[in-house]
């Protein structure tokens, strides 16, 4: 399969200057040694708890946040350092789009649904001419399941699900090659979630777009993804195909996550034991295994040394001392 995006050793350290005259510097390592790739037309799920750096990773790919170090290759070209001319900058922008979690906040309340999409078209001059643009927007609206009568309505006149469809329309109207979906359905009702997810899958088939699907919801990721990566405190803990990951989770954290996913079968016995003990401890980042305090298979080495990534099976990578 053809690779479209590759991320190598991506890191983001947020520096907070505190104290008198900002002399003290506190460094928070939000994303550490993150490497993965996305193939053409596939969906890569990225799961993790809130604060694990999954959104930061997505935002670095679309250049909303500047990475501290590391490379992002789009179609073989490194785009992590974006100090280049506006034309090639726009070319990258056109090909890497984003769908945001909060559909209301991500739309300007003063622009109609049609104007939001038109803005994108105007920036990249995808179509010109008033009539042509209108027709194009109608076509895109049909793709995302909106009526053409809704083009001239304002965001507040739509329901949450419909607003998210506007966000999707704005992203796909540029015909990008990859879309970063930052928790696109997390703010929606479960019934609406299914509709949006199905719609996104249709669009993916039609246009051959790749998705990086960021979510904290394992069941949603299980539904839409081809491959899944699991993140914890800025590290990728495990990467595998969807089937492999859910059938044979290797990392203790992934195991706990998979076990904790609520079952839709009410006849299954209820689990009583809490899935994970303790809380996230950010002070472990860069010291030892960041999961050591919560792990049920913890051993001495976990407290002494950071684990490295090992390929346990073909395409199944895991960052844990258990697999050496």
């Amino acid at each position: 399969m053809e690779e479209i995006l590759r991320v190598e050793k991506l890191e983001k350290h947020f520096i907070k200057e505190t104290g008198f005259l900002k002399k003290e510097k506190k460094v928070f390592k939000a994303v550490n040694d993150v490497s993965f790739h996305i193939n053409k037309g596939e969906t890569l799920g990225l799961v993790g708890e809130s604060g694990c750096g999954k959104s930061t990773t997505g935002r670095m790919i679309v250049d909303l946040i500047q990475p501290t170090s590391g490379s992002i290759f789009f179609e073989g070209k490194n785009i992590a350092d974006r100090s280049r001319d506006r034309k090639s900058q726009l070319e990258i922008r056109k090909n890497i789009q984003m769908i945001f979690q909060d559909s209301y906040a991500s739309l300007d309340p003063r622009l109609t649904a049609g104007q939001a999409v038109e803005e994108a078209l105007d920036i990249h001059r995808i179509v010109t001419g008033k009539k042509e643009k209108r027709e194009y927007i109608e076509k895109i609206f049909a793709d995302v399941g909106l009526q053409k009568e809704q083009i001239d309505r304002y965001p507040h006149e739509f329901s949450g699900g419909q607003r998210q469809r506007i966000g999707i329309a704005r992203a796909i109207c540029l015909q990008p090659k990859i879309i970063i979906c930052d928790e696109p359905v997390s703010a929606l009702d479960v019934s609406i979630q299914a509709q949006i997810i199905n719609n996104m899958e249709e669009i993916q088939k039609k246009y051959g777009i790749s998705y990086l699907f960021i979510s904290h919801d394992l069941s949603v990721v299980k539904h839409i993804s081809d491959r899944v990566i699991v993140m914890y405190l800025g590290y990728i803990f495990e990467e595998a195909s969807k089937e492999e990951l859910f059938a044979r989770p290797l990392h203790p954290y992934t195991r706990a996550l998979v076990e904790a996913t609520p079952s839709t079968n009410p006849d299954l016995p209820k689990r009583n034991k809490p899935a994970l003990k303790n809380e996230i401890d950010t002070s472990l980042i860069g010291v030892c295994c960041p999961f050591a305090n919560r792990c049920d298979s913890v051993s001495d080495i976990c407290w002494k040394q950071e684990p490295s990534v090992t390929e346990a099976a073909d395409g199944h990578k895991v960052r844990c001392h258990l697999y050496k």
């Binding site: 679309v62 909303l64 991500s106 994108a120 920036i123």
Partner: protein, 274 residues
């Protein structure tokens, strides 16, 4: 439309609009409303009480006070508009630069603004007049400079706040240029506090310039300017108070009108700043 309806349901704001309308009509149709030219002196009728001939009486030089107030409205519009144009625009520009680009530029600009802000505006205006010289022009320039800091602060905070909205990120991802993001998204959405500040600045400018006129630092005492008229009346405050009362009422009503409108706008636009 919804906004206008809500504004008009605010009784105080309507009262403010009413006062402002009187003020604007007076300045617009001054030659038609005024009974005579303000510079015309009726030396037989010096310090006259209000009568049919002189609706609000005359001053110590026999000038018609009613006409003076009507023409004075023009001066006040000139003051308000020029202060908004100079001070408001400069302040807005500084606020945009500081709020949008942040970093060192913000730091430098805001420390300058802080320094200016440390002076009370009337003191700052007097200081400027000492440099520029007295007269209406000098007073307008001085008051304009004095209004810059507050405008800059309010615009900056509004830009900073609006910039954090996710639709700004969305525009960046689409590849929109900084300029377009600023003028198409951030400013229109952060306009509310700026509009409120503009109304309040208008009245404040009139008030400060009248104050400067009263102190003899503003408009030429011979001109139709409310503060200058008040200043002239000072000597006769005990014996002929009407000379001072009418310009005083004119100032009070105009300033009150703009302040009421400003408050009304703030409530209607639901602005938390200022």
């Amino acid at each position: 439309m919804k906004f206008l309806k809500r504004l008009l349901s605010n009784k105080l704001a309507v009262l403010g609009i009413f006062f402002i309308l009187i003020f604007l009509l007076a300045s617009l149709f001054a030659p038609l409303i005024a009974t005579q030219d303000y510079s015309e002196m009726d030396l037989y009728n010096v310090l006259a009480l209000p009568s049919a001939e002189h609706l609000m009486g005359t001053d110590e030089m026999g000038r018609d006070i009613f006409s003076g107030i009507i023409y004075g409205a023009r001066t006040s519009v000139l003051i308000g508009v020029s202060v908004l144009l100079f001070g408001g625009l400069v302040g807005t520009a500084i606020g945009i630069l500081a709020g949008f680009f942040e970093g060192k530029l913000d730091m430098v600009l805001m420390r300058i603004i802080d320094t200016l802000m440390a002076f009370p505006s009337i003191l700052l205006a007097m200081f400027m007049i000492a440099i520029i010289g007295t007269g209406l022009k000098g007073a307008i320039v001085a008051v304009s400079i004095a209004t810059v800091p507050r405008f800059a602060r309010i615009v900056r905070s509004s830009v900073l706040k609006t910039k954090k909205n996710e639709y700004v990120d969305a525009c960046r991802v689409l590849g929109q240029s900084n300029m377009k993001i600023l003028f198409r998204h951030i400013l229109p959405n952060g306009m509310a506090p700026i509009i409120v500040q503009a109304t309040l600045t208008f009245s404040e400018a009139i008030l400060i310039i009248s104050g400067l006129g009263f102190l003899g630092l503003g408009a030429d005492p011979m001109s139709a300017e409310w503060g200058a008229m008040l200043s002239n009346a000072r000597a006769y405050l005990m014996t002929k108070p009407h000379i001072a009362i009418f310009p005083g009422i004119a100032i009070a009503i105009t300033v009150l009108g703009f302040n009421l409108l400003g408050d009304g706008l703030r409530d209607t636009l639901d602005v938390k700043e200022y």
